[in-house]
């Protein structure tokens, strides 16, 4: 029924509880459990009380000893360390790697200064989103990108297919999938001061979206000042044999204030920050314009097109999209994905794609798609939960102000 995502994952906890006595369900659950991939931090998670759940083919911690509520708040007050090694890091190299990548994404990769990055979207022929990704220009002939774990197979197949055709025409590009590396996300106000203990590089000179290859805790790491929480922070791609040591060092240097944080709080944090979860808030049939990511389409790309689905996307830019992603605050029970959204006259205007209780605001927050015109902040709506209509209001995102580290 659902494409996946954390909502379902959280949902499954109790459902498993209720169904564990039904043997067929239990057996199916076990069969999949054995096939799950483990990150190099798996034992570390279990030792620290990580509650491991299946996610996108991996066994990942949904939470540790702290509750999701506590973890979410602590990330914004102190800091969080996440294992996101299930995500797929990829390098594209060769003198034509940018020309090649620009056919597949909408961002202006050529215009990125070396050592900087941006959020972008892989589009299909119809302008829909295949995946979202953070793209970094390491150098003019080296691009580093990270794609979603759940999209890995289809993304790699998509890239490979186009790469074959590109190379057949003489293009110079090759790829390397960074399965030898693990990915840690260190987020929150203590991220920079804690990480500074572990590197000689001056982190105050590295701003939001910047990228460096530097030595951290004795290992050569890919450091990107980015994240998925709305807080200042870093994603650190570390050679896998050094990942556990780095995680330990970070926790130790923070004197216990940076806490291991699971996918549950990660989902609350990104929702509070108004960030899309691919598979929920963005899918094959949703364009980046509808998703509110128009800002990530470079000016040159708008003028020139030249990426998959450009016709549809450029037309939408001109005429305006028919639906738009919007944020909501609502009363009653938290709205979850697939809750119907109605206008104040009771007519259907759209659907929630992610929603939950905000641990930081102590309110129900959600995002979803509504007809253009109904997306403006302040618009009153009704959100249906289990057949009952509850009052909601369109609210500007991010719900919680973001704290990215930018030059003043």
């Amino acid at each position: 029924m659902r494409g996946g995502g954390l909502w379902q994952l959280g949902q499954s906890i109790r459902r498993q509880l209720a169904q564990a006595d039904k043997k067929s369900v239990a057996r199916r659950y076990f069969a999949s459990e054995a096939d799950l991939k483990k990150t190099v931090l798996y034992d570390f998670h279990v030792t620290h009380g990580g509650k491991m759940v299946p996610f996108a083919g991996w066994s990942m911690p949904i939470q540790y000893k702290d509750s999701i509520m506590e973890s979410t708040v602590n990330c914004r007050e102190n800091g969080s360390l996440f294992d996101v090694s299930h995500m797929c890091g990829l390098s594209l190299k060769g003198k034509d790697c940018i020309t090649f990548l620009e056919k597949l994404v909408m961002g202006d990769v050529a215009a990125l200064a070396p050592g900087t990055g941006t959020l972008s979207v892989f589009t299909n022929e119809k302008g829909g989103a295949i995946d979202d990704t953070v793209i970094t220009k390491v150098k003019d002939d080296h691009i580093y990108l990270v794609v979603n774990a759940g999209c890995r197979d289809k993304d790699l197949a998509h890239i490979e297919e186009h790469m074959k055709a590109f190379k057949a025409k003489g293009g110079d590009v090759l790829w390397h999938i960074h399965d030898e590396r693990s990915l840690l996300a260190l987020q929150g106000p203590l991220a920079a001061p804690v990480l500074q203990h572990l590197t000689k590089e001056d982190l105050s000179k590295i701003y939001f979206s910047d990228f460096r290859i530097i030595d951290i805790n004795g290992a050569s790491c890919f450091l990107t000042r980015t994240g998925y929480t709305g807080e200042d922070g870093f994603e650190i791609s570390v050679p896998s044999e050094h990942a556990v040591d780095l995680a330990k060092a970070i926790l130790e240097k923070s004197e216990g204030k940076v806490r291991l944080t699971g996918l549950g709080a990660r989902d609350s944090l990104r929702l509070e920050a108004g960030l899309c979860l691919y598979g929920n808030d963005m899918e094959q049939h949703i364009t980046p314009v509808e998703a509110g990511l128009t800002w990530a389409i470079g000016k040159r790309r708008r003028a020139e097109g030249g990426f998959l689905g450009a016709e549809t996307i450029l037309k939408q830019l001109e005429e305006g999209p028919k639906i738009r992603r919007a944020g909501f605050i609502s009363s009653g029970p938290p709205a979850r994905s697939h809750s119907e959204i109605q206008n104040d006259k009771g007519a259907n205007i759209g659907e929630v794609t992610s929603g939950g209780f905000s641990p930081c605001l102590k309110k129900n927050i959600a995002m979803g798609y509504v007809k253009s015109g109904s997306h403006k902040a302040g618009t009153k709506v009704k959100i249906l939960v289990r057949g009952k209509a509850y009052d909601g209001v369109v609210t500007k995102m991010p719900f919680v102000p973001t704290k990215y580290y930018k030059p003043s």
């Binding site: 949902q11 999701i68 609350s268 979850r336 641990p359």
Partner: protein, 156 residues
């Protein structure tokens, strides 16, 4: 006596926020009956009080909303009568007993977290006028339920 000591322990534990992860050690009270969907029922004459178990609240995490039925609504054993919303999950609550709802715990509208802090007392959910007290024979006693939870946890 034993049960009140356990309750105290459970409350102290949740106050100290150490209750979230004690697998296999969730509190189970002797005089209650339990459903395999993790609700408890306490029978006192014709009145049956219903809530979710310590084990259930432990797995659900912070409860943020409880959808309560109306007083007067009919409930049936094994059928859903409401929902518990935690930060991440929505879960139906199934009635362990059939009858008519005579009271709902309005306190939960203001403080849904009572289900976490006091699942067997302040966090009760509904009171039911039981139709057939013999229905409790379909439910588990404390020992069986403890074993049931341990087995479930062992699977994960």
């Amino acid at each position: 006596m034993a049960s009140s000591r356990l309750l105290w322990a459970s409350r102290a534990a949740s106050y100290l926020r150490i209750s979230v992860f004690h697998r296999g050690f969730s509190t189970v009270l002797k005089d209650l009956k339990y459903a395999d969907s993790h609700e408890w029922v306490k029978i006192e004459g014709a009145s049956a009080t219903v809530g979710i178990t310590d084990h259930a609240q432990d797995h659900l995490g912070d409860v943020v909303y409880i959808e309560l039925p109306e007083v007067g609504a009919a409930v049936a054993q094994g059928s859903s009568f409401g929902a518990v919303e935690s930060v991440k999950a929505t879960s139906d609550i199934y009635s362990p007993i059939s009858g008519k709802v005579v009271e709902v715990n309005e306190e939960l509208n203001k403080s849904p977290g009572l289900v976490n802090s006091s699942p067997y007392e302040d966090g009760w959910i509904i009171k039911v006028e039981a139709k057939d007290a013999n229905e409790v024979n379909n439910l588990m006693g404390a020992d069986d339920y403890s074993k049931f939870c341990e087995e479930e946890d062992a699977k994960h």
